[in-house]
């Protein structure tokens, strides 16, 4: 027992180190690629010595590449954790972070803002879209939480979540019915998701929300672990199930809402990354899986974003394209391999 325990811990550490190296690599590559070519030394000077402030190079690094890669890492991690929470909660491998209607809620509000509101309010303040997305996510979340207090059967709650998503989509479609092509294209573009155009103030806001949620989730890792044995046993271990459920929905929604607000809905990450993390660690201990999921998500999204913006440069691919295109076959492969 001692020995295999050591083996396990070694595995955890190995995977962690591997992921951290991955993250560093992703960051280095990201910061070093783009249309504006710079030598490594330049980049180093710019970042560390703050050389050439105000130059194109400095601006590219400080105002474009750095915030963007930070956003990719933070949001990717957050989204993955949201997915992990909901998969655990519903014991359903396809329950991603958007299953409770989060992204539909966001899209509904964004659609409303883009299509309806702008007809009346000509000058819109900056950040309105982000705000709309966030509020939309919270609204659908509130509905789900209200339902969660009534519906005790998990699978039924899942159905309620999906239904709320449908209602939101229906309303969005309703707006689309009355929209112009340009507006439709605009909304579709939004719903493809991208880490582009994120600034430092955005980073500040998202860090606060995501890291504090992450902290709270880590705090919940104990009940989450107990919950894996089933609701009955969880109860007998002294978990206040009602509260636990509310908190879980709350934090996963907060995470997903933040991501959606800043980057739009990003496909695949929330479903696949938790599975990858579990396979990497070969355990389901929340205290280990939550950080692993975050890290894996961060690495995955940073790399994906790198690809998204360099593969067909200057055209940028949507992040979902890359995440799904590279991630999905990987997960299928893992699943098939596991079978053997």
């Amino acid at each position: 027992m001692k020995k295999s325990n050591l083996g396990k811990i070694a595995r955890y550490q190995l995977v962690c180190i591997f992921l951290l190296i991955g993250l560093v690599a992703a960051v280095v590559f990201s910061i070093n690629s783009g249309t504006v070519h710079m030598s490594v030394k330049d980049i180093f000077d710019i970042i560390v010595l703050r050389a050439n402030e105000g130059s194109v190079e400095s601006n590219v690094i400080w105002k474009i590449r750095l915030p963007r890669l930070l956003a990719a890492a933070i949001l990717g991690g957050g989204l993955s954790v949201a997915g992990y929470l909901l998969q655990t909660f519903f014991r359903n491998p396809i329950a991603g972070p958007y299953v409770l209607g989060i992204s539909s809620g966001s899209k509904m509000f964004v659609g409303f803002t883009m299509i309806v509101l702008m007809h009346y309010v000509k000058t819109i303040p900056a950040g309105i879209i982000v705000l709309a997305a966030f509020v939309g996510a919270l609204v659908s979340m509130a509905f789900v939480m209200a339902a969660a207090r009534k519906v005790t059967d998990m699978s039924m709650l899942l159905v309620v979540g999906v239904m709320i998503g449908y209602i939101c989509s229906a309303i969005t479609d309703f707006f689309i019915n009355f929209a112009q092509e340009n507006e439709i294209a605009n909304l579709t573009n939004w719903s493809l998701g991208s880490f582009s155009g994120i600034g430092w103030s955005d980073i500040r806001v998202m860090s606060i929300v995501i890291f504090s949620s992450l902290f709270a989730v880590m705090m919940l890792s104990k009940p989450i672990g107990a919950y894996q044995l089933g609701e009955g046993y969880a109860k007998s271990m002294g978990i206040n199930i009602k509260l636990f459920r509310l908190l879980l929905v709350l934090f996963s929604s907060l995470l997903a809402a933040t991501v959606t607000a800043f980057a739009g809905p990003i496909a695949f990450v929330g479903i696949a990354v938790p599975q990858i993390a579990k396979m990497l660690m070969n355990t389901s201990k929340p205290i280990i899986i939550i950080p692993t999921t975050f890290l894996t998500g961060a690495v995955f999204c940073t790399f994906s974003d790198l690809l998204a913006r360099t593969m067909f440069a200057p055209t940028e691919l949507t992040i979902s394209t890359v995440t799904a295109f590279f991630g999905a076959p990987f997960v299928i492969w893992l699943l098939l391999k596991k079978k053997k």
């Binding site: 104990k222 672990g225 271990m237 002294g238 355990t283």
Partner: protein, 411 residues
């Protein structure tokens, strides 16, 4: 009373199934629920553990209304093993058991040295320590059950509630489990509330028994006093087959209900195996002469068409002997199970002699004196004996017909 219910009513979706449950048990005692399938045992247990909302009434622990406890308080007081199947993904047994320490660990669920020790001890107790690193979902049914028991034990509760904890356990682990429960009760003053289907084990284990039947509490008390063959028969509505409280064992229903065709000399336990083997083949038999205190008598009672018995501790009376002689004569085949031939006045020996003289075919399991005389066939084991041609009765067809009829009535 440490644990007590007052006018408890339990049931599903707000409809009471059992009402007015007033039961209790002292600290450190074992309370066992017995009752037929569907009588409501699990329902009562789940209501006590708050897995099911109770319909009415109060549950007291240590004079306090349980509904006033916080969930962590309850968890420290009470642990459970349910019959629900659990299938936690990727969790090792060690991790499953460790969740039992949940109420005691810090906010992150970090296991202290002591927690680890308790986990290991609990797993050792139910003999699953070597499964520590194995994945839970890859265990056999019995191993799973034991891991869940370890989980409940390591929660170190004041009350432990178990719904059919012996299901899927093999005989050794059943014994050990009950031993553990009793130790917990006696040593650690843990109150045990459980449901069992093994009436014999319940009698051996429990301090208090509650009998549940047809959605009401049917009896309540100390097992030695309230359990007897009749109560059990009544409780479970046993018609065919029989239950012997004394032996704590079950005999299958008699199959041959006709005139006995075989006479079995039993006694001192030699007869029992023959009885069962014959019964299994649907051959009806008479047996004798047994003393009332003989182990064979208990089984013969259930299985033989005719049992010739004498009161214990005295010589066989003339009357009983005559009975036996008649029975013996009517039978076609005699089986000598190898009982004790010694003793001055051994009537069984006399009867056996008589059979030999009457040239009845005798199938004998006797090991010692194999004087091969005419009608005696010797067998080394019952397996061979029971397959002997002698026991293939021509009338077996008539037999079968009759049985088929009764089967059709029952299936």
């Amino acid at each position: 009373m440490y644990f007590k219910t007052e006018d408890l009513a339990v049931g599903y979706s707000g409809k009471a199934l059992i009402e007015n449950i007033n039961i209790g048990v002292e600290k450190g005692k074992i309370l066992c629920l017995l009752g037929p399938n569907g009588s409501g045992k699990s329902t009562i247990l789940k209501s006590i553990t708050r897995h099911l909302n109770k319909i009415a009434g109060t549950v007291f622990i240590d004079q306090e209304d349980m509904s006033h406890f916080s969930s962590v308080e309850t968890a420290k007081k009470l642990s459970v093993v349910l019959t629900d199947k659990v299938a936690p993904e990727l969790m090792t047994c060690g991790e499953v058991v460790a969740t039992g320490r949940y109420p005691y660990t810090n906010h992150f669920g970090k296991l202290t040295e002591q927690d680890n020790r308790i986990v290991a001890e609990s797993m050792e107790a139910v003999k699953v320590l070597d499964l520590m690193e194995q994945e839970f979902i890859r265990l056999s049914d019995g191993q799973k059950q034991r891991v869940l028991l370890a989980r409940a034990i390591c929660q170190r509760p004041e009350i432990i509630v178990l719904d059919e904890p012996t299901s899927y356990l093999d005989i050794r682990h059943k014994i050990e489990l009950l031993g553990i429960l009793r130790n917990m009760a006696v040593e650690q003053n843990v109150t045990v509330i459980l449901s069992l289907h093994e009436v014999d084990l319940a009698a051996k284990l429990a301090d208090q028994i509650i009998l549940v039947k047809d959605n009401h509490v049917y009896g309540y008390g100390c097992p030695e006093d309230i359990l007897d063959d009749e109560v059990i028969k009544d409780l479970y509505g046993i018609e065919h087959g029989s239950f012997n409280m004394l032996l704590g064992s079950v005999e299958l229903p008699k199959t041959g209900d006709m005139e006995p065709q075989v006479f079995v000399f039993g006694g001192d336990g030699y007869g029992t195996l023959c009885y069962r083997a014959l019964n299994k083949r649907g051959i009806s038999f008479a047996t004798g002469v047994l003393y009332h205190n003989d182990v064979d008598y208990q089984v013969a009672k259930s299985l033989a068409s005719q049992t010739i018995v004498e009161k214990s501790f005295r010589p066989v009376s003339e009357f009983v002997y005559e009975q036996a002689r008649k029975a013996l004569q009517k039978c076609e085949v005699v089986i000598d199970s190898g009982f004790d031939l010694e003793g001055e006045n051994n009537r069984n020996r006399m009867l056996l002699e008589m059979a030999r003289h009457a040239n009845k075919p005798i199938l004998s399991l006797r090991k010692e004196t194999k004087h091969e005389t005419g009608s005696v066939e010797y067998f080394n084991d019952i397996g061979a004996l029971i397959n002997s041609d002698r026991l293939k009765f021509g009338s077996a067809n008539g037999h079968k017909r009759k049985q088929r009829r009764s089967l059709a009535a029952s299936i």
